[in-house]
């Protein structure tokens, strides 16, 4: 009888303890959760609601169109262009930007003389604000050889000056160059952190076993860097899909959609054309695409971590 009561008491105190722990956890979560709900979840739900209306952004919501906005988006050639531009940026990032960052990390992450200086210089573009960087590059790309550095160089070399941002065939390449310049330092940093986590012993063992430089890179360093590469690829793709600042400042998505991406398209409809309902629908489409990618990526790439 006595033992039973004690058991009950124990049980009770156990459950109060659990409650206590849960309450503590909630207390810490609550402020962040409140901010998240107010500034992320609530606007998202609001956008979904707005996206069902033909609405200018002020005045009352009257003109209910159901999924009409979504239909228009998916049938708009200009929107499809933003998708292909986005994919082009993603592919270029993966093919050029990341290998470049990795190569630089391998060079400056190790025993290069003056590596601190190089690290500082290579990381600097990432510290600049996007707008400042974009304005600076607009100046460099100025088609007038007297004012734009690149054309000045071309002319000095006796070559034909280019119109760069004014040329629908060149503009996306120019934007990509700026994005690479701006963000390779960040990816380099990720790889450098990854490199520092590789134990020296493993490399030494490989060296003793007679591995060549390339063998070491492909069979020791890269596999051990997998974690960093995974994160870097993920951030790079999401960054390219959501890029706005640099493109808007440099070209506003022009000339004629040649450098348009989903976010500039969304901004143009919401704040230039006064079609906030349509713009909200674009935002939701963008969210779904990014979310879809994230889930797939985490499921198929991240999972291997625990396999």
């Amino acid at each position: 009888m006595e033992s039973l009561t004690r058991h009950q008491v124990n049980r009770q105190s156990l459950s109060t303890q659990r409650l206590s722990t849960a309450l503590t956890a909630w207390m810490f979560i609550l402020p962040a959760l409140a901010l998240f709900v107010v500034f992320v979840v609530y606007p998202m739900i609001q956008s979904v609601y707005y996206s069902l209306f033909n609405w200018k952004g002020f005045g009352s919501l009257e003109d209910y169109v159901g999924f009409g906005n979504y239909q228009r988006i998916l049938n708009d050639a200009a929107f499809l262009r933003t998708l292909s531009n986005g994919i082009a940026l993603v592919v270029l990032s993966l093919m050029l930007q990341l290998p470049l960052s990795l190569a630089l990390a391998l060079i400056v992450g190790r025993d290069l003389p003056g590596r601190r200086y190089f690290r500082l210089v290579l990381f600097m573009p990432y510290v600049f604000s996007e707008v400042i960087a974009a304005i600076m590059w607009v100046g460099l790309f100025n088609p007038d050889p007297d004012r734009g550095l690149f054309n000045a160089i071309l002319v000095a070399m006796g070559l034909q000056p280019q119109t760069w941002l004014g040329n629908p065939q060149q503009v996306l390449g120019c934007i990509f160059a700026v994005l690479t310049w701006k963000y390779f330092g960040f990816h380099m940093l990720l790889y450098m952190a990854g490199l520092q986590n590789i134990p020296r012993e493993v490399e030494e063992a490989a060296l003793i076993d007679g591995a060549s430089g390339w063998q070491m890179l492909f069979f020791v360093t890269l596999p051990l860097l997998w974690g960093a590469i995974r994160t870097s690829v993920y951030l790079s793709i999401l960054g390219a899909l959501q890029q706005f600042g640099i493109i808007w400042v440099m070209t506003k998505g022009g000339p004629v959609n040649a450098s348009d991406v989903m976010s500039t398209y969304m901004y143009r409809y919401s704040f230039v054309r006064f079609q906030l309902g349509y713009g909200s629908a674009v935002a939701i489409v963008m969210l779904v695409i990014s979310l879809f990618f994230s889930i797939i990526y985490l499921r198929f790439v991240r999972e291997q971590e625990y396999a």
Binding site: T24, L30, V38, Y42, F58, P143, D144, P168
Partner: protein, 453 residues
């Protein structure tokens, strides 16, 4: 047990604090501080307190006059007014044109317009007025037997009215025309400014042959390019074509609008614009003109001021600058005197205090308008103030605009904002070769059909 109770209490307090904070935050999150209410409640101040601590009426004023002279003059007007009205505090926000448009849209969507802000009247202003974001100042204009109203030239005032009610007033009205560099024309052997489209094309050819960039154009900002197409449409279709299309009796796919696109491409084929014009801004356009690197630009009355401001010595091309009206198009239905253009004004936000309106009255007073005319950047709209115009070219523009049989407001302002933006985008696409004249007018018509139902 005690600790549980304590935690529960803290949790409840936190929740109680956060939830109302969140809910009250949500609808008003983006609002900025608002002007203090009118000073009806000015409580008697302690005798020792200095006068400056009295609650002042704050007037928020957003303008886009970034040129040095002009910005300084606006500041001077505000300072003068505050000196004679110590209870008023005028807070000026100076914004660059494109930045202003974005920022204004955002504050409008949050429902908190500034008290006084730059406006071009027409379609955009009408959207704001319809949404109840602007103050109807018709009673102020009509007070004292319409004393304030009578000072304006009626055409200019009408641009800021919707269904007979005024939501703003003009401070400048002029027209778009071709600004040219006389020295470069002479160099190319052009003796007199072209009067017809064919003569104009001939002049462009001569300039090209002489190795001079004929025309500076900032097509990256789109509206400077729209001016070319729109002026051609005005010359080809006149008042009738636009009014029919606008009233939905006709359409923007009607012949004059398509023809305007074809004429523009005819010009574009001569490669008259500077290299990379498709991404250039209006600032670039003014810089090229101000540095004497292109022979012409199609721009409004403010062009000389902006050219000067964008030139290295702040002088522009000085005496070499000339002006002629847009050439007439052979066989076009428009009257040769028809003018395309518009002006600048101030719209009044819905929360504006009587002090704000009184200040606008001061700004558009004859003395202030005359001084504005003297700096040569705006053409006054108040009767008698044109005496202040010192620049002979601006005099010509002022008189041409005032006698125009038909005055066409800028398309991107006359039409609803969504359409205006489609017009601008389509003209850029036309010049980039991404759309044919037919496709461009169809895109405009599709948007009009949706917006002007």
């Amino acid at each position: 047990m005690n600790s549980i109770r304590l935690k529960l209490t803290i949790f409840a307090v936190l929740a109680a604090l956060l939830i109302p904070a969140c809910t009250s935050m949500a609808p008003s999150a983006p609002t900025t501080s608002q002007p203090a209410p009118a000073s009806g409640e000015s409580a008697p101040q302690p005798a020792t307190a200095p006068a400056s601590t009295e609650r002042k009426v704050v007037v928020n004023w957003w303008h886009i006059s970034t040129a040095e002279d002009h910005k300084a003059l606006w500041q001077q007007f505000a300072d003068e007014y505050m000196a004679t009205h110590p209870n008023v505090d005028i807070q000026i926000t100076v914004l660059e044109n494109e930045a202003f448009k974005s920022k204004l849209t955002t504050v409008m969507q949050s429902g908190e317009p500034p008290d006084i802000f730059q406006s071009w009247g027409g379609g955009v202003m009408i959207e704001y007025a319809k949404a109840g974001l602007l103050k109807d100042i018709t009673p102020d204009l009509d007070a004292d037997n319409g004393a304030w109203r009578a000072t304006f030239s009626p055409g200019a005032l009408g641009v800021y009215a919707y269904e007979g009610r005024n939501y703003g007033v003009p401070w400048d009205m002029g027209m778009v025309g071709i600004w040219y560099n006389k020295a470069l024309f002479e160099q190319a052997g052009i003796t007199s400014p072209p009067k017809t489209w064919n003569e104009f094309l001939e002049a462009v050819r001569k300039l090209k042959a002489a190795g001079i960039t004929p025309i500076a154009l900032g097509a990256g900002d789109k509206w400077p390019a729209m001016f070319w197409w729109a002026y051609l449409a005005v010359r080809l279709g006149g008042q009738e074509a636009f009014e029919k299309a606008y009233s939905r009796e006709g359409s923007f796919t009607d012949a004059p609008f398509v023809e305007a696109g074809k004429k523009l491409l005819e010009l574009n084929r001569l490669e008259p614009f500077q290299d990379g014009f498709l991404s250039a801004t209006y600032g670039d356009q003014a810089t090229i003109m101000g540095n004497g690197k292109a022979a012409m630009e199609l721009m409004g009355q403010w062009a000389p001021g902006v050219q000067k401001d964008n030139s290295p010595d702040k002088q522009g091309i000085g005496e070499n600058l000339g002006w002629f009206p847009f050439p007439i198009v052979e066989g076009g239905a428009g009257d040769p005197g028809d003018a395309f253009g518009g002006g600048n004004g101030f719209a009044i936000g819905k929360n504006a205090s009587p002090e704000a309106i009184d200040f606008v009255k001061y700004l558009t007073g004859k003395a202030q308008q005359t001084r504005l005319a003297q700096i040569g950047i705006a053409l006054p709209v108040v009767k008698g103030a044109e005496e202040g115009i010192e620049d002979p070219l601006l005099r010509v523009i002022q008189s041409s605009a005032s006698v125009a049989p038909y005055f066409q407001l800028y398309y991107d302002q006359a039409l609803p904002p969504a359409v205006g933006s489609v017009v601008n985008d389509s003209v850029q696409a036309l010049l980039a070769g991404a759309m044919t004249p037919e496709q461009a007018t169809q895109a405009i018509e599709d948007s009009v059909a949706q917006e002007l139902r």
